[in-house]
């Protein structure tokens, strides 16, 4: 194929593909997701006040990329299917003394800080939540009192380089390892 033929062929295919159009309702869905997401101010680095220390809680069925202070924990069930009932259950634990509320945000809940609140159960200042997660790579962070965005402070730069701040990352395997 000559350069000219390549250009003509590529241009022809590109022109055909450019006729595809998204669903007109996509804009509304995007804006709805944005309104559910934490505000722009939440993307600022957390201050000293919310020096949150997460701690390990064991690991069984989840791969963890890098060293994280918030350890997703074990899971149960065989190969996870598309429904939540068949997905590994992952526990997130974070120590946030003095916090009034803590929520978990991630690509699995559209970064919606109202979707997955943590509860204080075992000890004061220790917040936990268990959620089913599909197998695959997930990025997440904690939001404390609706205003402090807290990716794992001890995690390496494991998230993608879209912006300057990484999120924490876990890999959930389909076999629960």
């Amino acid at each position: 194929m000559t350069d000219y033929e390549q250009e003509a062929w590529g241009a022809r295919l590109g022109a055909a593909l450019r006729e595809a159009t998204p669903d007109p309702a996509l804009d509304d869905r995007i804006m709805a997701a944005i309104r559910r997401a934490p505000g722009v101010d939440l993307s600022r680095r957390p201050g000293r006040v919310w020096r949150v220390l997460a701690f390990a809680a064991g690991i069984a069925a989840v791969f963890v990329l890098g060293r994280m202070t918030a350890r997703p924990v074990a899971a149960r069930g065989p190969d996870p299917g598309p429904s939540a009932a068949n997905q590994p259950l992952v526990r997130f634990v974070v120590r946030a003394p003095g916090a009034r509320q803590v929520s978990l945000v991630g690509d699995f809940n559209d970064w919606n800080q109202e979707a997955t609140p943590l509860a204080q159960e075992s000890a004061p200042g220790v917040w936990t939540v268990e959620i089913p997660l599909a197998s695959g790579r997930h990025e997440y962070a904690f939001v404390v009192d609706g205003s402090a965005w807290l990716p794992d402070p001890a995690a390496p730069q494991v998230a993608d380089a879209d912006f300057g701040r990484p999120n924490s990352v876990i890999l959930v395997s389909s076999r629960g390892l």
Binding site: M1, Q6, W9, G10, A11, L13, G14, A16, L17, R18, E19, A20, T21, P22, D23, L26, D27, R29, I30, M31, A33, I34, R35, A37, P38, G39, V40, L42, S43, R44, D107, D110, W111, S135, G136, R137, D160, A161, D162, F163, G164, R165, S174
Partner: protein
Amino acid sequence: MEGAVDQAVDVTDATVVAQVLAGDVDAFRFLVARYRDRMWRYARYMLGSREEADEAVQDAFVRAYRALEHCQDPARIEPWLFRILTNRCRTRASRRLRYERTFVPPAGDTEWAVREVAHPEDRLAWREEIGRALLTLDERSREAFLLKYLDDQSYEEIAARTGDGISALKMRVRRACARLKEILEEPDHD
């Protein structure tokens, strides 16, 4: 707000970004309306389905919104948005490869043939054939081809967006074109 978005074609990206950072969330719709079509088309043919494209584009815009204050050059937000989308598509494509496997119709199952495509239904069928053929390419070749011929980017722009070298990109695009031609111009089966 939607009407304002449609009419406000002269509003610069930098102005919109400043408005959003000042607390006007709805102003972000300007950016969505301005770039959604191009971003969606890229994701559609990179990932192979409308549903995955919807999710990838939504994800990219949400991430862009969350990180808006980190955008170094709001006057030229487009490359930044597309870099986020490219990363999102790469993540999704690799996840799918790891856990699902891309569906590609077996050879001979589809009648590949170039034909005149004036009728709207034929054009749709032609696009779908191209889309299936694109899925037979490796991910990086598909990415390079789409950035070059769907998004009309120069090799320099593609290199800046993907971090790949220009000669490697040219080679990928050349091979992608040859492969697509081989598939799409295969004579009808008797």
